[in-house]
């Protein structure tokens, strides 16, 4: 029986700001006059917290900025959102002229060249795939389609179909040529789908753009499942976020203080389906070709949004034991995992986080 819940946000960091700093929508103004007179020096103005937003990659991206020059901050925020749009055009497998679609169309026929940054992204994916023992794997496009996930729905493929599709799954079936940035798929039905990793990459590029424009304090997020904290709020050490229990959205299970770090969440609470009374997530285990069961939510902190996105998926697939082993050699990664246990209990595993008293 199909049962899909569309939940609301798992957290609201905006609650953390004092009310006086919350930015109201400015009244509509006529276009500004171009004035050769210098504006008042930036230090004399008080701190403002403007926000800009745009829809992209099927999510709402928001950039919260902090500083003294409102116009400059908003302009920088818009440039950052432009980068996100550009990445969306480049990576989306819903567009018929994106680089990812081009790869999926041609890379089994011949060697396809991609531009340097995309090539590095794909190599990073291959690296993460190896490090996570295959728990994170972008070469799962045909499986994702077979399960109906890319359309937001689901269907259940037969074991024979899954076995057949596993022959066209797996990053080890992708060949790379580092000299010319060429990529080749050795299986005819192999398709890559970046999933959340694409969102993380876009946010990393957006953060780079903000820094280019001299922004020192900002938060970028995409649909709230991927957040990047640039710097810290003026006068403070870090941006703080409240990771809430997805079941009631009020209980805080963990606070995370981030500075130049990203926080990503993978969950099955908002999106799952049931077959014969069994609950399945929409996250596939690339090693088995089947959706992960039993994991409720995983949040990961990592230095970049691309990595935090990849790892939140990987840890979701791996389970808490393998995740703890994985994080043992990676002090820069923190995680909090919520798993179903028998009897309806939820077990919480903290990796790198202090248990709140």
């Amino acid at each position: 029986m199909l049962n899909m819940l569309l939940g609301r946000a798992l957290w609201r960091w905006l609650d953390r700001l004092p009310a006086s700093h919350r930015d109201a929508d400015p009244p509509p103004a006529p276009p500004p006059a171009f004035s050769p007179v210098e504006p008042p020096p930036a230090q004399a103005r008080e701190i403002v917290y403007p926000k800009v937003s745009r829809a992209a990659m099927g999510s709402l991206f928001e950039v919260y900025l902090a500083g003294r020059d409102r116009d400059a901050l908003i302009a920088a925020g818009e440039q950052a959102l432009d980068e996100i749009e550009r990445l969306d055009r480049q990576l989306s497998h819903y567009r018929d002229d994106s680089d990812i679609t081009r790869l999926n169309q041609h890379a089994h026929d011949h060697w396809v060249r991609v531009e340097p940054r995309l090539y590095q992204m794909l190599k990073r994916c291959a690296d993460l795939c190896e490090q996570t023992g295959g728990a994170f794997d972008i070469a799962t496009g045909s499986l994702v389609k077979a399960w109906g996930f890319h359309q937001g729905g689901h269907r259940v493929p037969s074991p024979q179909e899954i076995a057949r599709l596993m022959e066209s799954t797996g990053t080890y079936r992708i060949l790379f040529d580092d000299e010319d940035h060429l990529v080749h798929f050795t299986a005819p039905e192999l398709e890559v789908t970046l999933g959340a990793f694409g969102k993380g990459c876009a946010i990393d590029e957006a953060a780079e753009r903000l820094r280019f424009y001299g922004v020192e304090s900002a938060v970028i997020h995409g649909g709230q499942s991927t957040i990047y904290a640039l710097g810290a709020p003026p006068g403070e050490d870090a941006w703080t976020f409240a990771i809430k229990d997805p079941r009631d959205k009020t209980t805080v299970i963990q606070e995370a203080a981030l500075r130049d770090e990203a926080l990503s969440t993978s969950g099955s609470y908002e999106q799952f389906f049931e077959v014969d009374g069994e609950r399945f997530s929409h996250i596939l285990d690339p090693r088995t070709g089947r959706p992960v069961q039993g994991m409720l939510s995983v949040s990961v902190v990592a230095p970049s949004a691309a990595d935090s996105d990849a790892l939140s998926t990987a840890l979701f697939v791996m389970g808490s034991e393998a995740a703890q082993e994985f994080c043992r050699q990676r002090p820069e990664v923190r995680a909090i995992m919520m798993e179903h246990r028998s009897g309806g209990e939820i077990a919480i595993t903290r990796i790198g986080f202090e248990h709140p008293e």
Partner: protein, 440 residues
């Protein structure tokens, strides 16, 4: 439960390893021997077809780096050996992507390099002519972004240099390489689907606020004139050049002629922020055959977006990068045989029944296989946007001498239209465009 066979896909599979033997690769990667051999053969074939071309790229701003450089580096065998920009952060950003390239601030040093075969130019408009002429005279092939030049004399100098040097000069009006546009061209000119074309209407309307009207945030270490050059008359010809020439070029291409006169009205009526170029333009071009082109570009309303509309006695064709191509039959005309190849019905703004053009159908339509006008279309073009297709066309011309997509004639004609259009709007007068404008 499968053993994760991630193995060596992540490792640096060097060219030498690859040549060493399919057997070794197969063993290392856990794929079958025949799969490895096939991959190796394809790699060898690709190398044969993609002779390396050493390139220089001058002008690495948002268009140059974000679009053109990335597309050029998506064409096999293209090597960036020199990157040039006067603004260091932009230069460094590109150098990060191309570790084998040398960075320059002075483009003349780039042209001194004997190993550079082709130069790609995406600097502000007023620099197109001096840099392109110098590059062609230095014996380099050139891809120059649109529009061709700031003024007619500059465009002619570029054209003469291309003619005299015998090198490739391609101008960046990328719709010339676009599948839908080529498909549309064939419908208009070979299938004669529209009958006699009497009028063309084109527009590019935007309403994206300050940033989309070129009022961009200026980074810490540069000036407003440098960063927002499109707002200044010294460097920019405004909307008609930045947007209009793309579409006027399409009209000239489809009609097979270029305008002989122009009238128009432009103003700075909303964005009074110190800009020197018009923030809204409306021009009408007259062609020798009597066809009129009505062109509009607004910055305060985006309903209808951008497109070109060809109006003929038997039908209407609306074409754009965004929405592809739609054909609408005029009630007075009889159905054409070709219409069954256009597939997919679509509805017009007032509920008219039309057909969505399908480039795949070109194979059935064209009498000479997959040739469409001057282009040969293949399924190889699937998944490629027209910026990538124009780069492929450029490098095909450089490597194999194939006909140039958007050459100096097309570029010059578009530049003439833009410059004369601005003149008409400035003088508030009808401007005659002499045939000598188009001759070099």
């Amino acid at each position: 439960m499968h053993e994760p066979r991630i193995a060596l896909a992540a490792e640096n599979l060097s060219r030498r390893d690859f040549i060493q033997g399919a057997g070794a690769i197969a063993a290392a990667l856990g794929i079958t021997l025949s799969e490895a051999a096939q991959a190796q053969e394809k790699r060898a074939q690709a190398l044969k077809e993609a002779r390396p071309v050493n390139c220089a790229f001058i002008g690495l701003g948002s268009q140059g780096y974000g679009t053109d450089l990335k597309r050029a580096l998506s064409v096999p065998g293209v090597r960036m050996v020199a990157l040039c920009d006067i603004y260091e952060p932009n230069l460094n950003r590109a150098l990060k992507d191309c570790p084998g390239a040398q960075g320059y601030k002075d483009y003349r040093a780039v042209l001194d390099r004997k190993d550079v075969e082709a130069v790609l130019i995406a600097t502000p408009l007023y620099l197109h002519a001096p840099m392109t002429v110098d590059a062609l005279n230095a014996g380099k092939h050139v891809f120059c972004e649109k529009m061709m030049a700031y003024d007619i004399e500059g465009a002619k100098r570029m054209a003469r240099a291309a003619r005299d040097s015998g090198k490739v000069l391609q101008i960046g009006h990328q719709r010339r390489s676009n599948l839908i546009y080529n498909h549309g061209w064939e419908h208009v000119n070979e299938a004669k689907a529209l009958g006699k074309v009497t009028h063309v209407r084109a527009q590019w309307n935007r309403n994206g606020g300050k940033r989309e009207t070129w009022q961009r945030p200026v980074p810490p270490d540069t000036t407003h004139r440098h960063w927002c050059w499109r707002l200044y008359k010294e460097y920019s010809q405004g909307l008609i050049a930045e947007l209009g020439t793309h579409q006027i070029h399409v009209a000239n291409w489809y009609l097979g002629e270029a305008p002989k006169a122009v009238v128009g009205i432009g103003g700075i009526d909303y964005w009074k922020d110190g800009r020197e170029v018009f923030d809204n333009i409306m021009v009408i071009y007259e062609y020798p055959s009597g066809v009129k082109l009505n062109y509009t570009s607004l910055t305060t309303n985006q309903y209808d977006g951008f497109y070109e509309q060809f109006m003929g006695k038997d039908g209407t064709l609306i074409v754009s990068q965004e929405t592809g191509g739609q054909f609408y039959k005029e009630p007075s005309s009889e159905g054409e045989e070709w219409m069954k190849h256009a597939v997919n019905p679509t509805k017009g703004a007032r509920g008219q029944t039309g057909l969505q053009l399908d480039p795949e159908a070109t194979k059935k339509l064209s009498k000479t296989g997959v040739k469409v006008g001057e282009k040969t279309l293949t399924s190889d073009a699937k998944g490629k946007d027209d910026y990538l297709l124009e780069m492929e066309d450029f490098f095909n011309s450089v490597r194999a001498g194939t006909p140039i997509s958007c050459d100096w004639r097309d570029g010059l004609a578009a530049t003439v239209a833009a410059v004369r259009g601005n003149e008409a709007m400035e003088k508030q007068a009808r401007i005659e465009i002499p045939p000598t404008d188009y001759q070099i």
